[in-house]
């Protein structure tokens, strides 16, 4: 009975996650597959409020905002995935290096982490994006480079605890190589941390991407990124055009909440004890 209930809960979480994952995937693919014509300029239909034909309305150039938003989302998701993937890999490398390296290296890495935390992220991303001549590359690098610090600290702490764990000491006494210990003891413990860290980093990356695009860095104005749509919407806000500001933003928030939920559930499945509340 007890086992059954536990299984039930686990199954429910898994189903829930699958659903969330499919939803995200659908949004992403849908955005990719929308043909250019769907978001083509059409001055006859400019500034239309939401209707059945245009659920999110149209913008000042007559482009359908629903399709534009979806297209923007898939751009955001792409940038988010790559940026957080790079960031998480940096985090693992740096975190492990800090934990197993010399005291000197550890201090140096902690100093670098302090350095990254010492400049407001938005300013740092602006600076990096500026240095790389703005555009997609600057945006990606900027976000990837600023998001690894928190996870790196977690990984460093985790490795430090693992290193002092009896089973690692026993393995070492048994003459196992560092590589063996790394493969058999460290990696299995770090993988869940990495996955959860990666997925929880993703919403931040998307939010930062949107913010930086909104400020006019990053993606070029023709691209349908959410930040750019919202930035354009500002010009017509005082004229009462509310839909270009409201719907794309809401969709972005929805995606962020979905991914957050997905990450929380993954955490619960990978580590049922820490998530027990």
């Amino acid at each position: 009975m007890k086992l059954f209930r536990w299984k039930n809960r686990r199954t429910r979480t898994l189903c829930y996650m699958t659903l969330l994952g499919l939803l995200l995937l659908a949004a992403y693919l849908f955005g990719l597959l929308i043909p250019e014509e769907a978001v083509a300029t059409d001055f006859m239909n400019a500034k239309l409020p939401p209707s059945l034909e245009h659920p999110f309305g149209t913008d000042s150039l007559g482009r359908d905002l629903f399709f534009r938003t979806l297209k923007g989302l898939s751009v955001s998701i792409t940038v988010g995935i790559f940026a957080s993937l790079i960031s998480a890999v940096i985090a693992v490398l740096v975190g492990v290096a800090a934990a197993v390296g010399s005291k000197w290296l550890d201090n140096a890495i902690c100093f670098v982490i302090d350095l990254f935390m010492g400049v407001p992220h938005t300013v740092l991303v602006l600076l990096i994006s500026f240095a790389l001549g703005r555009g997609l590359k600057g945006l990606l690098v900027g976000i990837a480079v600023t998001h690894w610090t928190g996870l790196a600290r977690v990984i460093r702490g985790e490795v430090l605890t693992l290193r002092n764990h009896p089973f690692v000491a026993v393995s070492r006494r048994l003459g196992k190589s560092s590589g063996w210990i790394l493969r058999h003891h460290l990696l299995p413990h770090l993988l869940p941390q990495f996955l959860v860290g990666l997925i929880l980093m993703f919403p931040h990356a998307i939010l930062h991407e949107a913010s930086i695009s909104f400020l006019g860095y990053g993606l070029s104005p023709e691209q349908p990124a959410i930040g750019i749509i919202l930035s354009e919407s500002m010009k017509y806000l005082s004229a009462g055009l509310w839909w270009p500001a409201v719907f794309p933003g809401l969709t972005l928030v929805l995606i962020v909440l979905l991914v957050d939920k997905f990450g929380d559930n993954l955490k619960r499945i990978l580590d049922p004890y820490s998530a027990q509340e």
Partner: protein, 309 residues
């Protein structure tokens, strides 16, 4: 004349609802069938080794068990049933707790105001005289708890009970971390308070000190009492004691031969069938492993054993 007991505990049981693993639920019985009484003017020691659930007794009497605990049985204060409202009303007024360690003091509050408590009007004058009586220097009240020495902290904790002027005091392990002199000093204070007519429930693992200062001793084992006897019986030795465990405890004391008892006290959740002491009992019979004995009166004390004489 039969005096009315200050505190009467009848068949108290405490069970914890635990979450085992991710989501499976499990009940863990920590105290079972515990009965004892405390009369005005006496010190009753509840003595047992650590891990026997003694401290929960204090929480149960005060109504301060965590939310996932379920209690059974009845408790009476001066003949009145202790409901949770009653406990709330009596806490800190009629029943006072002397906690175990300095961690029970707010680390960010100076000792003086902290000992005064939240009651209006503040008993500052009374507190000052009690501090003096306990030998706490004048400047103590301006210190933060972390700056107190072990003995000072103990006296500050005792002072909180004295300030409240409660009639029943529950002292939870009041002596660990103290030197012998400090422990004697603290227990002397309890003795004085008992002589003034207060009842004291002394929860301790220090059987030696319990012998010396208590009037009656309840031997606590695996969540219940095995014997309740006057301290005199313990001073006289195994012949006047009733339960095999009490006798073994006596023999385990350094001055009585240091004979250790084999085996371990069972943990909550792994209690044996029948008599809880049976697995370690040198005199056990077949019935002991089947049936659970209940407390019965014998030679002016009480014992939980089928075959005690």
């Amino acid at each position: 004349m039969e005096q009315q007991p200050l505190l009467k505990v009848e068949d108290l049981s405490v069970t914890f609802r635990m979450y085992d693993g991710a989501l499976a639920q499990k009940d863990l019985s920590v105290i079972t069938d515990l009965s004892l009484t405390v009369y005005p003017g006496e010190i009753v020691a509840v003595a047992g080794s650590s891990g026997s659930g003694k401290s929960l007794l204090a929480s149960a009497v005060l109504g301060l068990l965590p939310g996932n605990a379920v209690t059974g049985g009845k408790m009476y204060y001066r003949g009145e049933l202790l409901t949770s409202e009653k406990q709330k009303a009596l806490r800190g007024k009629e029943i006072a707790l002397v906690p175990q360690s300095v961690s029970f003091l707010d680390p960010l509050m100076k000792v003086g105001p902290q000992a005064d408590g939240a009651k209006k009007p503040l008993p500052t004058k009374r507190r000052k005289s009690i501090f003096q009586r306990l030998g706490l220097p004048e400047k103590t009240e301006k210190l933060y708890p972390f700056a107190l020495s072990g003995g000072m902290a103990r006296r500050v904790l005792v002072s909180t009970a004295l300030i409240s002027d409660a009639d029943l005091m529950i002292a939870d392990e009041p002596t660990p971390g103290m030197t012998l002199n400090q422990a004697l000093e603290a227990l002397t204070i309890f003795r004085e308070m008992a002589n003034e007519g207060k009842g004291i429930l002394l929860i301790t693992h220090d059987i030696d000190l319990a012998f010396a200062f208590a009037d009656r001793i309840a031997v606590f084992y695996a969540g219940t009492t095995l014997e309740i006897a006057s301290a005199k019986d313990f001073q006289n030795g195994p012949d006047t004691l009733r339960h095999p465990y009490s006798k073994a405890l006596w023999q385990a004391l350094p001055q009585n031969g240091f004979v250790p008892l084999k085996g371990f006290q069972p943990y909550a959740g792994h209690l044996p069938q029948g008599c809880l002491f049976a697995p370690r009992c040198p005199y056990k019979k077949e019935r002991c492993e089947r049936e659970t004995p209940s407390m019965r009166e014998m030679r002016g004390g009480e014992v939980r054993c089928f075959y005690a004489t």
